[in-house]
Amino acid sequence: MSKHMTRKATRHVNQNEGLIFEKSSPGKAAWKLPPLDVPDVDTSKLLGSFERKTLGNMPEVSEIEIIRHFTRLSTWNYAIDLGMYPLGSCTMKYNPRVNEVVSRLDGIANGHPYQPEKISQGALRIIKTLSDCLLEITGMDAITLQPAAGAHGEFTGLLMVRAHHESKGTARKKVLIPDSAHGTNPATAAMVGYAVENLKSNSKGMVEIAALQSQMNEDVAALMLTNPNTLGIFEQEIHKVADILHAKGGLLYMDGANMNALVGKVRPGDFGVDVMHLNLHKTFSTPHGGGGPGSGPVAVRKILEPFLPTPVVISKADGTLGFNYDRPQSVGRVRSFYGNFGMFVRALAYTLANGPDGLRQTTEDAVLNANYIRKGLEGVFDLPYSSPSMHEVVFSDKIQAKNGVRTMDLAKRLIDYGFHPYTTAFPLIVPGAMMIEPTESESREELDLFVEAMKSIAQEVEEDAELVKTAPHTTRVARLDETAAARKPILRWKPASEQPQNT
């Protein structure tokens, strides 16, 4: 490392580890089945030509090797548990451990989705209680927890928008999406059969009201808006946005990816939103797990309730809960069973641990942290939009680009300082974007270390740009050749005997 030593991290030894297949040899085993209490069977007689002869190159290893294998792999990952993970729009907050404990209780972890309702009251109560909490938090009227992730929630929400318009005679043709939106928004609109029309942001980084006014007409089914948007800016004219849409019969869809800026402070249902999704793996602390599972509940206003996916949970006359499948106007089912139930358990445990005061304090701390970073780095990095920040702040690499250093280089250098990078190159409307979301989970000390690291990197750019452009320097592997990976994809391991020989 250079003279800019980091206070946060120190290099230390970690173990090498090959692929599990490279450790396999016949006769090793990590499993043991009990003796059969029923007569054994002749499998070839039972299955005939359906019987499988070989399991190919599946591994044969012992239990200790598996423990070491995955433990070693785990040490090659960065994680929230190790430190600040300021990925903008991803809300990498602390994942409470009690959530994991309660989700593994016997009746919760092992309940079958088709077991009788009589012995499913616990699960139904969890679904109902979480639903009620989320409705209160969003200010909406009805909800489905079925979607498995945020993008799946968008899909479900837009299906309901479409069903609503169809019930009025026509599905309409297009969906308006701001140029700052996440890529899932346009991809979702396309899956639901809508054309996408771009909506330009104004110089403040917000929806341009005049543009919306001129683009809005009876062909527009909905506007998909993230609020606060991906610049971390609250859409201050949200009421006008909603009015313009509603005047022409359009609906306002809110992408709730950034709900961590709003919980307990303002409710989307109160500012004109008709339909929105939440990401339980962002705002409600369920673990990201290296890319999932997520959960993407969709909350709607009364007018969209008839279109919710089946089934919905209802209270019965005898006080018990049950599933209702008789919903003739429903958009149908978007996933088998009831969704990622295990994530509901965790999100509810988080909500109960917070209560109304904790939820509000959480939001306040998230916004406080983002503004503290903004203050610390203003002037050091270019701030393309000066509108006030909520839970995240977007800088750009404009100042550093003069020395040929881009956002990805700065991000990679941050790794050497012991931090996970911020989100790079997004939103697309900011060239060289550096999108920083600290969440409420960072202490003042961690934030100070981050600001110090970023300033130090900015100084390195002036003194030794090459050092930054070739970062990271302390990781197991240096920057990887992504072009080669895509040009000739190797997507699975093969034993040497099956690999093509270079002759």
């Binding site: 085993a29 299955l47 598996i66 201050q236 990622n340 990271p472």
Partner: protein, 459 residues
């Protein structure tokens, strides 16, 4: 609030540094009329001990300590304890999607191993990093076939999981993809002749499930032949992954859409589970979902990265192969560890135990009631037809803390008093004997009362 790492003094000092007089100043961008000036009406803040107690109570109300014969897309297999030890490591549990490869090699290498093992087990050439579940994987696989063939209509076997078919219908409807349902016949699976008629020049693919919803093994080879002859693709859904230990995989399928829940994932009231799509190399660019590929770093050292991202929404936006972003990574890791534990020999033995339990149960039930599709090879599920309404029998069985098979009336009214039973390696002989005993009692009392009423009429 115990998750928040700040003292009141920290907050004051930070506000001062920012130059704000109060926290409310930071929320000033939100128009005043919308700001919430009251507490949210959610339960009060609870201590950890209270939270654990609250969920223990819910667990007790949710069939705790019941044995079960339910399968139908959610299978109760033993989960080796090291799965949870390993996935509980914070470095796996609390990491994000591995976009920053240099500090995500653990997740990336494990996904690469997952893709490899899914390929080995399914007989396919490439597999993705996961989909939400088996139902959405099947729907996405069908849409992939539509893109690959340029044809729009889809033939779906009625022996595919009814909820998978419902999800497909939801996905297909707004894409303008007409669905045709192909019926099953007296042996509980598709009849190649009716398939022949259902596939036209406009059919993109035939979607089947094998083992199918009734546990029967479809004639995949013959169906593939018909589909291919007509220029359509064969998409095979596999809902019970353990079957792959002993049942020949559908090697002639073009796309396999799997639910891997059976591999070490808790039944968990329906989720989270782990869908996967596997296919041939030539179709990879139309495959949805994340993919991990092997490459090298500047020093020539082996490493792994997310690759072929130009298929995905964050690059391609409305032209992406799917809108999927977050998938089921941690669940895929459970599946990966499970496959590693059982491996080449264990998976086969495990599947054999499932077969043995099922064969015994089928034989015992068959003594007293009618087991449908008796001659068709099956894996670990079977359909029992009783004289009495299966809900009534199940409710008596529940008194023994045993959950009986799934009554099929809701999905297949034509099957009458039929229910779908599942045995896994965890099903005990005594459970089977108890259930069979109750079915036997039911049959003899129904037959007895029938004789009585006949007598009455005669009198």
């Amino acid at each position: 609030m115990r998750y928040l790492p700040k003292s009141p003094a920290d907050r004051q000092a930070m506000l001062k540094a920012i130059g704000a007089s109060s926290i409310d100043e930071l929320f000033a961008p939100i128009p005043g009329e919308y700001r919430l000036n009251r507490d949210l009406k959610v339960p009060r803040q609870m201590a950890e001990s209270e939270i654990v107690d609250w969920f223990r109570e819910r667990s007790r109300e949710n069939g705790e300590n019941h044995a079960s014969f339910l399968g139908a897309g959610a299978y109760n297999h033993y989960r080796p304890v090291i799965i949870d030890s390993l996935i509980s490591r914070g470095e796996f549990l609390t990491a994000y999607t591995p976009y920053q490869a240099e500090i995500s090699q653990g997740t990336l290498q494990s996904i690469f191993e997952f893709q490899t093992m899914i390929c080995e087990l399914t007989g396919m050439e490439v597999a993705n990093a996961s989909m939400y579940d088996g139902s959405t994987a099947a729907a996405e696989a069908v849409m992939m076939a539509v893109r690959l063939t340029g044809r729009r209509s889809v033939a779906v076997a009625r022996s595919v999981h009814p909820e998978f078919r419902e999800v497909l219908a939801t996905y297909a409807f707004h894409q303008g993809m007409p669905l045709t349902t192909v019926p099953f016949t007296g042996d509980g699976r598709l009849d190649p002749k009716s398939v022949e008629g259902a596939i036209t020049g406009g059919t993109a693919c035939l979607l089947i499930q094998s083992p199918n919803f009734f546990g029967s093994l479809e004639e995949v080879e013959a169906l593939a032949e018909i589909a291919h002859r007509k220029g359509a693709m064969l998409v095979v859904s596999i809902a019970e992954a353990v079957s792959l230990g002993i049942v020949e995989p559908p090697r002639r399928a073009d796309i396999i859409a799997m639910e891997a829940q059976s591999f070490g994932v808790p039944v968990g009231f329906g989720g989270p589970y782990c869908g996967v799509i596997a296919t041939r190399e030539q179709f990879v660019r139309q495959m949805p979902g994340r993919l991990v590929g092997q490459t090298v770093d500047r020093g020539g050292k082996r490493g792994f990265v997310l690759t072929l991202a130009t298929r995905e929404q964050h690059i391609r936006r409305e032209k992406a192969t799917s809108n999927i972003c977050t998938n089921q990574a941690l669940v895929a890791l459970m599946v990966n560890i499970f496959m590693t534990i059982y491996g080449k020999v264990g998976l086969k033995e495990l599947a054999r135990h499932n077969l043995a339990k099922t064969a015994y149960a089928v034989q015992q039930f068959g003594k007293h009631a009618s087991v449908l599709f008796p001659a068709t090879p099956r894996f670990n599920e079977f359909v029992v037809q009783t004289s009495e309404d299966p809900y009534a029998i199940n409710s008596r069985l529940l008194g023994h803390k045993i959950v009986g098979g799934l009554p099929l009336k809701k999905f297949y009214p034509e099957l009458g008093n039929a229910s779908l039973w599942c045995c896994t390696e965890l099903t005990t002989r005594s459970m089977i004997d108890t259930a069979v005993g109750l079915v036997a009692e039911s049959e003899s009392s129904v037959n007895g009362s029938r004789e009585e009423s006949v007598e009455e009429v005669a009198r």
